[in-house]
Amino acid sequence: MRRTTRTLATLATLGVVATGGLTGCASTGGAAPKDDWSELTVAAAAEPTSFDPAQAAQANYAQYFQPVFDTLVRRMPDGSLAPMLATDWALSEDGLTATLDLRNDVTFSDGTAFDAEVAKENLIRFRDSGGPFAANLAGVADVVVVDDDTIELEMSTPDPDIFEYLGNSAGYMASPAQFDSDTVATAPIGSGAYVLDRTQTASGAQYTYVKRDDYWDDSAEWDWFDTLVIKPIPDPSARMNAMKSGEVDTGIIEPKQIPEAEKSGLNVTTFQVNWYGLSIFDRDGAMVPALADPRVRQAINYAIDDEAILAAVELGYGERTDQTFNTQSEAYNADYDDRYPFDPDQARELLKEAGYEDGFDVTMPSSSSMDPAMLAAIAQDLGHVGIRVKYQEVSPADFIPSLRGGKFAMTWMSFAQPPTAWGTVHQFLQPGSAWNVLKTQDDRIDDAVETALSNLTDPEVYDAAMQEINDVVVEDAWNAPFYRVQQGVVSRVGLTVVGQAGQAAPSIYNYTLDD
C-alpha cells in the first residue's frame, strides 16, 4: 500500500511539473525565434502527381514547381504581372497576337540554354499534352519564333488572361532534355533557383530542393534560403501541430484554426481566395423546373442566413457576399456583397410570385468531406421557406465527377475566385465553361463577352462589359454565394508571408525574413 501511495505521489508530481509546463513556458516551437534560416520548411496540404510541367497542377501545388521552374512572367502577390523569363510582353489590338521578349542569359540546371525555340517547344507541348490546364492554351494556334529572344503566340480567339496563364502552369519552362527522359514525371529540370534533390526526397514524406550556384537572377530577393523542404501534411491538425512545435516554418491552416494559431504566438496572415455557397447548375430547369425562374433563385439567396453560417462554421473569418467575382477583379461591385440580405419573408414572397407557394423538392449531394453543420444549416434555412432539400451521399472521390457529369441541379461548393474577371467568366459563365456544367446560355453575357474581347486594349469598355456580366449573374441569381472565406497562413516568428491572389497556398516567392 505504501508503495502504491509513493507511486501515486510521483505521478502527481510529474503531472504538476508538466502542467506547469503547459501554462508557464516561454515561447517555444514555432513561436520562438530561429537562428539559422538557411533552410525553409513548408507544410503543404497537397502533393503533386507529376513533375512534368505539362501535367502541372496549380493552386496548392504551385509551391512544388516554382523552385525548379521559372515562369515566363511572374504573378505578384496582388495578381499583377512582373518580368521573369520574359522581360516584356504585349497583346495586339485585336487580341490575336501575344508578343513576348525573352531573356537571353538563362540556362537550365542541366546547362541547356533557354531561348525562343525552347519556349515554343514548351508551350506547344503544354497545349497538346492533355494536362489538367492544357485548355488554357487551347486558343494558341501557333507559336512563332521571331528571333532568338522573341516569340509570338498566334491566337485563334482572343484570351485576355493569356499572360496570366504564362505566369502559372502554362508558363513553366523546362529543359527539353526532361521531355525525352524516362523520368519526366519525377526529375524536373528547370531554370529556377533550386533543383530537386531526389536523394532527399520521398513522396508522402518530404521534397527537398537545394539552391543552384548559377541561377541567372542575381538580384532575386526571394531565394534567401539555401535549402527548401516541403512536407506534405494533409491533415489540418497535424499541420498545425508541426507549426506549433517548430518542425515546419510555415503552412496554410483552416479558418477555424486561426484563433489557436494566434494564441500559440505564431504569425498569422489572412487573405481571401475562395467563395463558399450554393452553385446552381440547373438554371434552365431541366431537373428542377422551379430553378429556371430567376425569382426562385433569388428566393434561395434571401433564404440563407449567410452571417449565421459564417459565424458558426468559420468562426466569423470571412466576408459576406452575393457575387463570385474577386474583389480585385474588373467586375467587382461592392454593392453586390449585400444584394440579398437574409430575409425569409422576401424569399417566400418571391416563391409565391413564381408559383411555388408550396415550395419544391431538390436533391443535393453530400459527402464526408463536407462540414455537416454547413449542410444542416442550408437544409434548415431552405426548409423554412418551403424548399425541401434531400441530400444524396456521394463518396469524396466521386463528388467532382458527379457534379461535372450534371447529376445534380445544385450543390454547396467552395470555388477559388480567379484574380481576373475573365478567369471567372472563362471557368464558370460561358456555355463551354468547365463549371457551367448544364451549359446555361444568356445572350446578354455573350454580347458582353464579345464587347470585352473586341476592346482588350480599351480598359474602360472592357471593364464596363465585365461589370455588365456581373450584373446579369447577380441579378438573375446564377448562384447563391454565402461569403468569401479568410484563408489563413501561419509562419514562425521572424518569417513574413504574403498571400497570393487567387491561390490557396502562397507562391514560393512570397516569403521574406524580418529584419
Binding site: 508538466a18 509546463g21 503547459l22 513556458c25 517555444t28 516551437g29 502533393e47 502527381t49 507529376s50 513533375f51 512534368d52 497542377a57 492533355g130 494536362g131 489538367p132 490546364f133 492544357a134 485548355a135 487551347a138 514525371a185 519525377t186 520521398a202 513522396s203 508522402g204 514524406a205 512536407k231 501534411i233 494533409p234 491533415d235 491538425s237 497535424a238 499541420r239 501541430n241 508541426a242 506549433k244 512545435s245 518542425e247 463518396s395 469524396p396 472521390a397 466521386d398 467532382i400 465527377p401 458527379s402 461535372r404 457529369g405 471557368q427 468547365a434 463549371w435
Partner: protein
C-alpha cells in the same frame, strides 16, 4: 510439419488471388471519374476521354485484370496513376513506417498485456478490478484522441518527442525511436486493453485445470507453475489475439498515421482508394494480404511448437 506449411502456403496463394480479384472488381466498379480526378476539374471532355484510353479504362474489365495479373506474377505492379512512381517503390517507402508502428505496438502490447493479464489473474481482488477497469477505459478511448493528447502534452508542451514526421531506422536509431514512440503508445493503449482481458481470462481458465492443481499439490514452486505451465497453456489464445491485433493495425494505424503525419501504408491506401489509384491499391493489398498470410503461418507454427495438441488441428 512441412506438409502443414506447404498446405498453408497454397491456401495463402489462393487467398491472395481471391483478395486481389475482389479488390480489382471493387476498384473498377466505378472508374468513370478517375480521369477527372487526375486531370482536375478544368479538364475538357476530349482530355478526359484521352486519359481514360491512356489508362486502359476503355478496355473490358477482364482484359484489364489479365494485364494486371500478368504483370503482378512477374513482379511488375505498374506505376501509380497519381504520383507517377513505381508501385513497388512507393510501397517500399511506406512499408517501413507502418511496420515500425505495427511491430512496435505488437511487441509493447505483448509484454505489457501478458504482465497485466497474469497479474490480474493471479492476484485477483482489487488488482484484478483495477486492471479490468483500465482495460475498459483503454478499449473505449479512441486512438486518435489519445494521439492528440500525447502530442499536446509530450511534443508541444514538454518537447520530449516530435509532433509529426518519421525518421527511418537506417538514418538514425534515436531519431527513429523518438518519431515512433508517441504513435506506438497511442496505438498500444487500446491493443493492451484488449489483449490483457484475453490473457487474464486464459490464465484463469488454465489455472483452474486439473493438471495445474496436480502440479501445485506436488509442491512445485508457484513461479514454475505460472511460467512453465500456466503461461504455456494461456499462450495460444494470447498469440491468436496478438495476430488479430497485427492484422487490424495494418489498416487501423491510418488514423494515428494521419495525426502524426506519418507517411505509412494506411495513409497511402486511404488516399489511393479515395482517388481510385487502382495500381497502387492493388500493390498495397497484395503486400498486406501476403503479410497476413505470413503472420498467421508464423503464429500457427509457434502455437504448434508451444502446444503439440494444436498441430493436429
Amino acid at each position: 510439419m512441412l506438409s502443414f506449411i506447404v498446405r498453408r502456403l497454397i491456401g495463402g496463394v489462393i487467398l491472395l488471388f481471391v483478395a486481389s480479384s475482389l479488390t480489382f472488381l471493387l476498384m473498377n466498379a466505378n472508374s468513370s471519374g478517375i480521369a477527372i480526378r487526375i486531370l482536375g476539374d478544368q479538364a475538357t471532355q476530349e482530355q478526359i476521354v484521352a486519359k481514360q484510353a491512356e489508362l486502359g479504362l476503355d478496355q473490358p474489365l477482364i482484359v484489364r485484370f489479365g494485364h494486371w495479373l500478368a504483370g503482378a506474377v512477374r513482379g511488375d505492379f505498374g506505376t501509380s496513376w497519381f504520383t507517377s512512381e513505381g508501385v513497388l517503390h512507393l510501397v517500399s517507402l511506406r512499408l517501413p513506417v507502418t511496420l515500425s508502428l505495427v511491430v512496435g505496438t505488437v511487441i509493447v502490447t505483448a509484454i505489457i498485456a501478458v504482465a497485466l493479464g497474469a497479474l490480474a489473474a493471479t492476484r485477483r481482488g482489487w488488482v484484478d478490478r483495477l486492471v479490468q477497469v483500465l482495460s475498459v477505459i483503454g478499449a473505449a478511448a479512441p486512438n486518435f484522441w489519445i494521439g492528440l493528447m500525447l502530442v499536446i502534452f509530450f511534443a508541444l508542451t514538454l518537447h520530449w518527442f516530435p509532433a509529426t514526421g518519421f525518421v527511418p531506422l537506417t538514418e538514425s536509431f534515436s531519431g527513429w525511436t523518438a518519431s515512433v514512440t508517441l504513435p506506438i503508445v497511442a496505438l498500444a493503449l487500446g491493443a493492451i486493453a484488449s489483449v490483457t482481458a484475453q490473457v487474464r481470462s486464459a490464465f484463469i481458465e488454465v489455472e483452474g485445470r486439473d493438471y495445474v492443481r496436480t502440479l501445485r499439490s506436488r509442491g512445485l514452486g508457484e513461479r514454475n507453475v505460472l511460467l512453465g505451465h500456466v503461461l504455456r497453456g494461456a499462450a495460444t489464445p494470447a498469440l491468436t489475439v496478438l495476430a488479430l491485433q497485427f492484422v487490424g493495425l495494418l489498416g487501423g494505424a491510418v488514423v494515428v498515421e494521419r495525426v502524426f503525419a506519418l507517411p505509412g501504408l494506411g495513409q497511402t491506401i486511404t488516399d489511393a482508394t479515395t482517388n481510385g489509384d487502382v495500381p497502387l491499391v492493388m500493390g498495397v493489398v497484395v503486400v498486406a494480404v501476403a503479410m497476413v498470410v505470413v503472420v498467421n503461418l508464423v503464429i500457427d507454427i509457434i502455437t504448434g511448437w508451444i502446444n503439440p495438441k494444436a498441430r493436429l488441428s
